[in-house]
């Protein structure tokens, strides 16, 4: 690392390295985030959940969506509809989507997360999470 | 300097900004008690550790009590020095100090001079409530040939440490341990004799309690005096006569030479001689050595070095050997007057009087503690058997039931009791140099020196310099006292002697021997030293002979025994050599 010789260089470095702890910053501010939780149990992974998760991560970065936090969960029990994705907007009830492909993922981002309108393919949630 | 007004116990004091509360109080005749605080004006000794907390006072607007000795005054400050709160706090602090102090005061060397005891008396301590059966901090006693340390009696005032570090730059003492076990000691608590301590004893001179004292030899002297087979002779150093009277309540600076001689005779010494005589011999040797070196250097002898450094102060010699062991060819090789006297007594005098050497006991009375160490140096054999300080002599006189003040004056015995004014002023800073100049001038020029008073080298400044004309030769001389000043000048010499000094007089104690650590305690009053100094110059002035080489008995010793200064015999008996000391 060559010595920084101006305030601008420090600013530039900060912008560059900010992403490295972005994940932690988001975790710290989880209550203000749109949380995209991809079910990543064996069933989900077999159905392509990992690619879906990467897609969400890439898209969020690509579209510069700083308020989206992509994380994973265990099996949600909807193994027939894998990959499943749960989206929780701040202060709202979580909504679970099934059979998520890249196209549907794009739709979820554009329509639900950004646009606020529901997208088809919602799986009705019939339980409450313990840690709420 | 800006002035500020402060109110102390209702009195308004107008003092310089930066003064302490203690100074401001003194200016309006309020005597705040102090114990650790000590200011030896005109030396660089100011112990301002603020550690004893005896001088605390109430300052309006301040939460806790303030130490008067270390708290600077501020404009409008209101101070109270004698409220109940202050008196109680002081008493309690003193009680704490006493609770960790041995209670066997009657068997203490400092009895009568102990400042802690004086404080207990002043505060009217009657019962020790706190720490009655509490623990006592105890330390191993350290008894050397000159100084003894009984740190059970230490009150952590740190005066000794300040003296050793600041004034003497020796740094043999420092605070060690923590909490209740904290004490001032040499590093790793090794005996003082094994450290770089130079034995000057100035720590003893300022110690308020009996923690630091001289090793006493009065009992040994009495034993020798009682032995019918022994001839016991005594020599008395010049500075003793200017201070001994103080021990008998006489004013400082009163010369008691005659009474002192009478007392020594009454005590039973077979001969009472004068170290001043040996001082005259010292000048013969050292003066000629100076001239010889000057001469050789003038003739381009490369291995002869200048400046010549005096060698009569044993603490200075120790300092030199420890700190400047790689340039041992600078100091004069002449022994000190005490040792010259010892060697002359045990050779020339013993032969002359036909006394067996082993039946002759040489006792010296010195203003100095380091002289005890010097007498014990291996190379000097048994030339001087026992050394007493001025204080010990005073006690011996009292033990012998002598009413000192009423004594008829008496004269020193011949032949080693005759001296000149030059020998007398050896006892003060500047005196050795002046004495040497008186002789060197006449020897170098062959002319008679009319005015023998070399005012330029007199005084109390830590370093004094002068250029003296010895005919065609211009002699650059320096006089220093206090070893920190000696260190400064030595560093200058090591750096190439830019001021081109030819001769330097060094005395370890502030003021020279008059301020020696064996003298009656000055208790911080530096004016006492100046009065003693004046007394010696008065005695010098009153002498018929004021140049060492004019001393008829000195001439006789040379004629009969040494032939001439720097002769082979003189070298053998009157000169010495130095050793490099490596100490912690």
């Amino acid at each position: 690392m060559p010595k920084m010789m101006s305030l601008e260089e420090l600013q530039a470095l900060r912008e560059k390295v900010k992403a490295s702890i972005d994940l932690r910053e988001k975790g710290d501010q989880a209550e203000k985030m749109v949380i995209v939780r991809v079910a990543m149990a064996t069933c989900g992974i077999a159905a392509g959940a990992r690619e879906i998760m990467s897609y969400f991560l890439d898209e969020a970065q690509h579209r510069n969506l700083t308020n989206i936090m992509v994380t994973q969960s265990g099996c949600m029990g909807y193994c027939y509809a894998e990959p499943t994705v749960e989206v929780t907007k701040p202060g709202e009830e979580p909504i679970v989507y099934g059979y998520v492909t890249k196209e549907r993922a794009q739709e979820i981002i554009e329509k639900y997360i950004l646009g606020g309108e529901l997208v088809e393919g919602i799986i009705p949630v019939s339980h409450q999470s313990l840690d709420e | 300097m800006a002035q500020v007004n402060v109110t102390i116990d209702g009195k308004v004091a107008h003092v310089e900004q930066g003064s302490t509360i203690l100074q401001a109080a003194q200016s309006v005749d309020i005597k705040i008690p102090t114990l650790c605080y000590l200011n030896l004006h005109d030396t660089n000794m100011e112990n301002k550790t603020a550690s004893c907390r005896i001088c605390v006072v109430e300052v309006e607007g301040r939460k806790n009590l303030a130490p008067a000795c270390a708290t600077p005054v501020m404009e409008g400050m209101v101070v109270k020095t004698n409220t109940l709160r202050v008196i109680n706090a002081r008493k309690k602090v003193l009680e704490l100090m006493l609770s960790d102090h041995p209670k066997d005061c009657m068997a203490c060397t400092k009895l009568g001079d102990c400042e802690l005891l004086q404080m207990a008396e002043r505060f009217g301590i009657r019962e020790l409530e706190v720490g009655k059966d509490g623990a006592q901090s105890t330390y191993k006693k350290d008894i050397g040939v000159a100084i003894q340390r009984d740190m059970d009696k230490c009150i952590m005032c740190r005066r000794c440490e300040t003296m050793c570090r600041q004034v003497q730059s020796v740094q043999a003492l420092s605070g060690i341990n923590r909490g209740f076990d904290a004490v001032v000691a040499p590093a790793f608590e090794v005996p003082l004799m094994e450290t770089k301590c130079v034995q000057c004893g100035q720590c003893v001179a300022v110690c308020p309690t009996g923690a630091l004292t001289e090793k006493e030899y009065t009992d040994e002297v009495v034993k020798a005096l009682m032995n019918p087979h022994q001839t016991v002779i005594v020599q008395v150093a010049p500075a003793v006569r200017a201070a001994l009277g103080e021990a008998f309540g006489m004013p400082a600076g009163m010369l008691v030479t005659g009474k002192m001689v009478a007392a020594l005779k009454q005590i039973g010494f077979d001969y009472v001689f004068d170290t001043d005589f040996a001082a005259d011999v010292t000048i013969m040797e050292e003066g000629h050595e100076l001239l010889e070196r000057l001469n050789k250097v003038a003739h381009g002898e490369k291995d002869v070095k200048l400046p010549i450094l005096t060698s009569c102060c044993p603490a200075w010699v120790n300092f030199y050997e420890t700190e400047y062991g790689e340039i041992l060819d600078l100091p004069s090789t002449a022994r000190s007057p005490q040792q010259m006297f010892g060697t002359i007594a045990k050779s020339y005098f013993a032969q002359k009087m036909n006394i067996e050497k082993k039946e002759l006991v040489v006792v010296s009375v010195m203003p100095c503690i380091a002289k005890k160490y010097e007498a014990a140096r291996e190379e000097f054999g048994e030339d001087v058997d026992l050394v007493l300080t001025t204080r010990e002599l005073a006690r011996l006189i009292k033990q012998c039931n002598i009413d000192f003040e009423k004594l008829e004056e008496a004269d020193f015995d011949a032949p080693l009791g005759e001296s000149t004014g030059a020998g007398v002023i050896f006892g003060t800073t500047g005196g050795v140099m002046e004495a040497a100049l008186r002789t060197a001038y006449e020897k170098a020029t062959g002319k008679i020196l009319e005015n023998v008073d070399f005012e330029a080298v007199r005084g109390f400044e830590g370093l004094r310099t002068a250029t003296i004309s010895l005919g065609e030769t211009q002699l650059n001389v320096a006089v220093v006292h206090g070893l920190s000043h000696a260190r400064k000048i030595m560093e200058e010499i090591k750096a190439g002697n830019p001021r081109n000094f030819h001769a330097i007089e060094v005395m370890a104690c502030p003021g020279g021997c008059i301020g020696g650590a064996g003298q009656p305690y000055h208790h911080g009053d530096v004016s006492i030293l100046k009065k003693r100094q004046a007394a010696l110059y008065t005695e010098d002035q009153g002498k018929v002979l004021r140049k060492s080489h004019e001393n008829p008995f000195v001439q006789e010793v040379y004629n009969q025994y040494f032939k001439e200064p720097l002769s082979q015999k003189a070298h053998e008996l009157l000169h010495t050599h130095y050793h490099k000391k490596e100490r912690l």
């Binding site: 010595k3 313990l130 | 603020a50 130490p67 952590m156 923590r178």
Partner: protein, 595 residues
């Protein structure tokens, strides 16, 4: 660059490292490589999370899963379950102490709910050995901003924030900087006091271990403000990890041009050196600290002169403690106004406390000034261990005092604690329950101060020893009512006359326990009883009517003090009893009591 979808943060503070968190980090890294996810999952060793009671801590982000008391053998399960399958390892989750249900998200833990992390903002969040993670958190942004301001503007901002020294005294930091700024000299110094010595307090260590760059940055800011080019950190040699992290941070800052000549291309130059202390408590006092750094004996001198006028090598020197410095960058990033909105009227911002003693959640916490003791002890600390009765809490370490039940709703700040006879100190908080004997507690603190006294001034050297002796007398049953008077009187004199803060506050534990628990002292000296049943010298064993006369006790008594016939109640001869307790542990009928 890897695209991480998950971060695993492992506590690398001294406490967790000593319970094998180092092995956990290595294990996690290896297990994740084994499944080929090293580009998706990042393992980070961080500074302290504060929840030391339950260490080692492993936190998984972004879902905030908080695993406690993790062992190296748990690593495999965390990876195979949580990382691969997304299932949380329930048995490692923190359990709500009341409902006994596991809490998966640390945001829902009471321990963290009421905390506000300003000084500790990066501890447990970033890798302290990676300067870029600090920069990513706006690190050195405050310094960059400061370099565009004038010196006086910087000082004004600190003054406006209301920040007060966190080392104990609570002196306004901005004012201290101003004094050092106004003293003209060819050389000035900034000193960071990291000689943390209060028993049980470790916030400074945690900050240095978890966020060393915040201290480096703050010292540079201070250097700019007062006109110093040299900084010194005085740190105890017993903090090797903090030293290592700090050295690493200083080296990185130099490499990035954030320390050294012409920082960020400006005219300002500043560098930092580390000085080691040998762990003497008194060296936390600024004048003693300075002497120690100069190679002298570490003892204090009377102030004035203050270090701001004559400090290190007699040059103007500003000394601040670690936690104080840790607040500085935030003040400039978020503004003095933001900072001054936190806390109470005269105590702004937050304070870190080290919770210890008889409390469930031992650890390091940070709360806004003004939080009550009750919130700290019960909500964050989880209450008293074993359901016992709360008795007192000692704040301010050995210089502080005891606060009791009636003080629990006092908002904690500098002035309130002083008014209650205690003090903020560096933030030690030791909780005591019904089993703690207050004279014994006072004795414990006096043992510490008497040992740590430098011995320079009489009241501290001899006075603390005498206080200790009296307390020893009291707890051993030899005390008299007169001792209580002496104790009080001597305590006041020491407070009034001692040279430095150590001595002036040494008697606080005595005075405060004497004030609040006088009855307990009286019980010791008048009735020769210890109400808390702690002072063994004051206890007596007695056999109650529950005794069935089985003779077990008399057979086990080593001095034959127990007599009685079979099947009849036995008795103990108190004059013979040596209080060894053998009978009590032998008795199967709970018939032997200590009282």
């Amino acid at each position: 660059m890897s695209k991480y979808m998950m971060h695993i943060l492992v506590c690398g503070g001294t406490g967790c490292l000593s319970s094998q968190s180092g092995e956990i980090v290595e294990g996690l890294k290896k297990a994740i490589e084994d499944i080929g996810m090293q580009n998706q999952v990042q393992v980070v060793k961080t500074g302290c999370f504060g929840f030391c009671e339950k260490g080692p801590i492993v936190k998984i982000l972004p879902d905030n899963t908080f695993y406690v008391q993790v062992k190296p053998e748990d690593v495999e399960e965390i990876v195979s379950e949580h990382i691969v399958k997304g299932r949380k390892v329930e048995r490692l989750l923190y359990e709500n102490p009341e409902s006994k249900t596991p809490i998966s998200d640390s945001k829902h833990m009471n321990f963290y709910k009421k905390q506000m992390r300003v000084a500790l903002r990066n501890c447990g969040f970033i890798n302290p050995e990676n300067i870029e993670e600090y920069i990513a958190r706006d690190g050195y942004g405050a310094l960059a901003k400061v370099l565009t301001l004038s010196q006086m503007e910087v000082i004004e901002e600190v003054k406006k924030s209301g920040l007060r020294g966190r080392g104990g005294g609570g002196f306004p930091t901005g004012l201290k900087w101003e004094f050092a700024y106004k003293n003209v000299a060819d050389q000035k110094y900034v000193v960071c006091n990291a000689d943390e010595g209060d028993p049980g307090a470790f916030m400074d260590r945690s900050i240095l271990e978890g966020d060393p760059h915040s201290i480096v940055e703050a010292m540079a800011i201070c250097g700019y403000a007062i006109g110093a080019t040299k900084g010194l950190v005085y740190i105890r040699a017993e903090y090797p990890l903090a030293v290592k992290r700090l050295e690493c941070a200083i080296a990185a800052a130099r490499e990035y041009g954030l320390l050294g000549e012409h920082i960020l291309g400006t005219a300002f130059s500043f560098d930092i050196e580390i000085r080691f202390g040998a762990g003497a408590f008194v060296c936390g006092e600024e004048t003693a600290l300075i002497h120690s750094m100069e190679g002298k004996r570490g003892e204090p001198t009377t102030k004035p002169p203050f270090p701001a006028a004559s400090g290190y090598w007699a040059k103007p020197t500003n000394v601040n403690n670690v936690e104080t410095f840790a607040n500085i960058p935030v003040i400039f990033l978020k503004g003095a106004e933001w900072f001054s909105k936190i806390g109470t009227e005269k105590s702004k911002g937050t304070k870190v406390f080290a919770l210890a003693g008889k409390i469930n959640n031992v650890g390091l916490i940070e709360v806004p000034m003004g939080t009550t003791l009750r919130e700290v002890i019960y909500d964050i600390g989880g209450g008293i261990k074993g359901g016992k009765q709360f008795k007192a809490v000692q704040t301010g370490g050995p210089s502080g005092g005891c606060l009791t039940e009636k003080d629990l709703d006092t908002p904690i700040d500098f002035d309130n604690l002083l008014a209650k006879g205690s003090m903020m100190g560096s933030g030690g908080m030791i909780v005591m329950d019904e089993d703690d004997c207050m004279p014994a507690v006072a004795k414990f603190y006096l043992e510490f101060t008497a040992e740590e006294s430098c011995g320079k001034c009489t009241p501290c050297r001899v006075g603390t020893k005498r206080l200790l002796e009296i307390l020893e007398k009291i707890v051993s049953g030899r005390g008299t009512p007169k001792d209580l008077d002496t104790l009080k009187e001597l305590s006041e004199v020491i407070k009034d006359t001692a040279l430095c803060g150590l001595g002036q506050t040494a008697s606080n534990p005595v005075l405060s326990t004497l004030k609040v628990f006088e009855e307990e002292y009286i019980a010791h000296v008048r009735d020769h009883k210890c109400p808390a049943k702690q002072c063994s010298a004051l206890l007596q064993y007695r056999i109650t009517e529950k005794c069935v006369g089985c003779t077990a006790c008399s057979r086990v008594c080593p001095v034959g003090a127990i007599s009685g016939t079979v099947k009849k109640q036995h008795t103990i001869d108190i004059s013979k009893c040596i209080k060894c307790g053998a009978c009590e542990s032998k008795c199967r009928f709970n018939a032997i009591v200590k009282e």
